[in-house]
């Protein structure tokens, strides 16, 4: 069986893996590395529940062949957010605004928030909505989610990646 070796920095920790190259990155995270915060919703790129960040870009781990995650890539999953000031801000803002109901979409949603604000914290509501159009919530609608992200954006630590 052909496997490939990859070393990744996941949430600031080094992980050495040997994986089937086209195994979904989602399965590597959840099953092989035990990082079950990332969720599988549709499994076909529609819902965004499996969103993680690879080298600064939000991606869908359900459609990402793990072998394509580059050597030494920096990966952030929902578990890594509380280690960062921006992630903690978002966590608090989502809670304060009541942005989660059933909560299934939230790991992907908040990772998209973090990816967007890390790139550009000057987010207006239209841009927030665009950056989260690939994350679907079927409970609350999006008002409180957008409010939470705006609130976090206003307090975003200046000049850092978050």
């Amino acid at each position: 069986m052909n496997k490939v070796k990859r070393t990744w920095q996941i949430n600031g920790e080094e992980h050495q893996t040997e994986i089937p190259p086209v195994r979904r990155f989602l399965d590597v995270l959840r099953e092989d590395l035990g990082l079950k915060g990332t969720k599988e919703g549709c499994g076909e790129g529609e819902c965004g529940a499996c969103t993680v960040i690879v080298n600064g870009e939000a991606v869908l781990s359900c459609m990402l062949p793990a072998g394509q995650v580059p050597e030494n890539a920096e990966v952030t999953t929902v578990e890594g957010l509380e280690k960062t000031p921006g992630g903690r801000l978002l966590q608090a803002a989502y809670a304060e605004k009541g942005a989660a109901q059933c909560g299934f979409c939230i790991p992907g949603m908040i990772v998209s928030s973090y990816a967007m604000l890390s790139r550009d914290p000057s987010a207006d509501p239209a841009r927030i909505r665009e950056a989260h159009a690939g994350n679907i919530c079927r409970c609350t609608g999006y008002e409180k989610i957008v409010e939470a992200i705006q609130s976090a954006a206003e307090q975003w630590p200046a000049g850092t990646k978050g």
Partner: protein, 303 residues
């Protein structure tokens, strides 16, 4: 198992393999990739961003291949450059790269607008222009904006490079002019000339994450109310994206007024024979395509 690019009708074939069974090569250079593709023993299904293939493999629409060749990270395929006349976009450039590049924004603006309507941010950071074009879906959102440039797809193999006009690249439903040992290396897109404009329109059930019912792009120039030049391409109304040459020829040189706009709309609707499918009806597609083209002309007339 089915061949590397055959569509599966017997779903029991697909169900016997999982993602873990697929071997994959990660060539470090274009030359290495071409050599892998040259030999039947090492050739594999070309894999770029995975946003089409991973779904099609999982659902059984396409058979999982024994081998894949990942071209996503090939450095030669990742750049956007310009010459005096053209914008040159590498095949593994992502939809998000297209959105962010000042070169594409300036010289092929409808391609940028189209890239912005594909999926959500996550699909845009993963999916590539080469993958979208090679996937050859009639609903591929980049197709119309590529077609209206009269540009070319550049294919490479160990035998050398060749250019295929984009208008001739898709030969039928999900069919392309690519040979088994070839891969798309880049797109050569003539820049929008001075004084010209482009427009893009997509109709789907929602703003994001939607597969188009109908979409299209145009490039043209209207001076003093007279159409100097007009190229228009529409997707999701035929087995491939189509240029509406008859409409283009008819409208060029005409003054835009209620009469000519209405006639252009009618000629557009009459020129296509779309099908009904899960996303829309044939009647709606026919009617709305006329409206889209009329809208393009009205937009240009206003400036």
């Amino acid at each position: 198992m089915a061949g590397w690019n055959e569509r599966v009708t017997d779903l029991s074939i697909a169900s016997t393999m999982t993602f873990d069974d697929v071997a994959c090569a990660f060539p470090a250079s274009l030359q290495e990739a071409l050599e892998l593709m040259a030999d039947e023993k090492t050739r594999g299904r070309l894999l770029a961003g995975g946003t089409d293939l991973m779904v099609q493999w999982e659902s059984g629409v396409l058979a999982m291949p024994e081998r894949a060749v990942s071209v996503k990270a090939l450095p030669e395929l990742r750049t956007i450059e310009e010459t005096e006349a053209d914008v040159i976009i590498g095949a593994s450039v992502t939809h998000m790269d297209i959105r962010r590049s000042p070169l594409t924004q300036k010289h092929v603006p409808s391609l940028v607008d189209a890239a912005a309507t594909i999926g959500g941010f996550q699909i845009q950071t993963m999916g590539t222009i080469g993958g979208s074009v090679a996937n050859a879906s009639p609903a591929g959102d980049l197709a119309p904006s590529l077609m209206i440039t009269d540009g070319a797809v550049v294919l490479a193999s160990v035998r050398g490079e060749r250019e295929v006009p984009i208008t001739a690249f898709w030969t039928g439903y999900r069919k392309t002019d690519m040979q088994p040992d070839e891969l798309i290396v880049r797109f050569r897109l003539p820049k929008m000339p001075e004084g010209y404009r482009e427009a893009w329109r997509k109709l789907g059930p929602r703003q994001a994450q939607a597969i188009s019912k109908v979409m299209g792009s145009c490039r043209g120039c209207v001076e003093g109310g007279v159409v100097k030049s007009f190229r228009v391409a529409i997707g999701s109304v035929a087995p491939t994206c189509v240029r509406l040459y008859d409409v283009e020829k008819w409208i060029e040189g005409k003054k835009l007024n209620e009469g000519t706009l209405a006639e252009a709309e009618k000629r557009t609707s009459d020129s296509i024979t779309p099908i009904a499918d899960i996303r829309s009806t044939a009647e709606y597609r026919k009617w709305v395509t006329g409206r889209i083209v009329r809208g393009f002309l009205e937009q240009f007339a206003d400036q």
